[in-house]
Symmetry: C2
Subunit: 208 residues, 2 copies
């Protein structure tokens, strides 16, 4: 039943469930069991049922879960608005890969502003979006009421960019640099670092 204090690990898995449910819907599936969901995600059925149980009862005994209904519930639980606006700092290779990434829109996120320090890029268009100077970031972010920033700049310039981001009233940061961000309270950051994962893979492939 709702309320016991929900494990952090559970929260992290919710978006996995949503992802898989979307896939099932695209295949016109109407019902799914915890077992099948578990198999396709590399988890256990108990874990999925336990996770869901923190928020309520969504299944139908003997049948399983109504795919559409469960997805709708998860969306409500996670409170992901359908118009989550992002801004992107850094228009290099990575920045452009992100601009071309179709997954954002599919999930209700959209990059509403892009910033760079490079004078050759400012004013130009990337994937149909005008690149602004980072000096304009604070004004643009406040005007467009953006709450989430993506950092895809070179490691060396993080501090400078971070200062601007903090002043802009951003509440969440997705960090693609290798640096650990020192942040004031009230701002949350998540880092994407695949080099760590490579080293881990290397470690396992050599010990097992």
């Amino acid at each position: 039943m709702p309320y016991s204090k929900i494990p952090n690990a559970t929260i992290k898995r919710l978006s996995l469930y949503r992802k898989q449910l979307r896939r099932l819907i695209s295949e016109d599936r109407e019902v799914v069991q915890s077992q099948e969901l578990a198999d396709s995600l590399g988890l256990t059925s108990t874990q999925i049922r336990k996770d869901l149980s923190y928020f309520g009862k969504f299944g139908c005994r003997k049948k399983g879960y109504d795919v559409n209904l469960l997805l709708a519930n998860l969306r409500k639980i996670m409170g992901v608005a359908t118009d989550n606006k992002l801004c992107l700092f850094g228009c290099g290779n990575l920045g452009n890969a992100l601009l071309g990434y179709k997954g954002f829109e599919q999930r209700g996120f959209s990059i509403e502003a892009i910033f760079d320090t490079d004078l050759n890029k400012i004013g130009k268009f990337f994937h149909g979006k005008r690149c602004y100077s980072v000096n304009q970031a604070k004004e643009v972010i406040k005007r467009k009421n953006i709450k989430i920033a993506i950092i895809a700049v070179p490691d060396e310039t993080v501090d400078e960019i971070l200062e601007i981001i903090i002043l802009s009233g951003i509440k969440s940061i997705l960090n693609f640099t290798q640096r650990h961000l020192q942040l004031p309270g009230g701002i949350m950051a998540r880092s994407v670092d695949f080099t760590d994962k490579l080293e881990l893979l290397s470690y396992f492939s050599h010990t097992k």
Copy 2:
């Protein structure tokens, strides 16, 4: 002392430590305490000491850790060879961002072969590297003795690519698609998925 069975979470942090140590070395630092290391990574000093204690004693009481020595030890522990060869499947936006990413070389990884299915790309050069047809992948991978593959293809083509990868004798996979990979035993995969993190950020920024 060595041997109790090392927590998975510890292994995952080792590459964080290496990353920070490399940064300290680049600043000509010779010694560091667990406290400072912890602060810069957003961890606790106890945790770092505990993690290290699973592998042995590397510090000097009262002084701290010799930065170079500790890094050398971690390298040995993780067994990251200095010539870890990678191959890349998918030469789109993301693939090119990865090709341009300098972090690989810095950490002893190098992309030794790139593959695509697009006839317009095969035979062309990307970041100085020739793009091969995926049909040649098995042969090229075996010839160059590559053990780690990066998947940066569209989600829809994963199954096809995965089949090729498995036949090629690849042991580790870094997966950039949104799909969970079903793999035979003996192959390990890690996925990089930032959309999940975005949803998590959205969840927190809206509940707190």
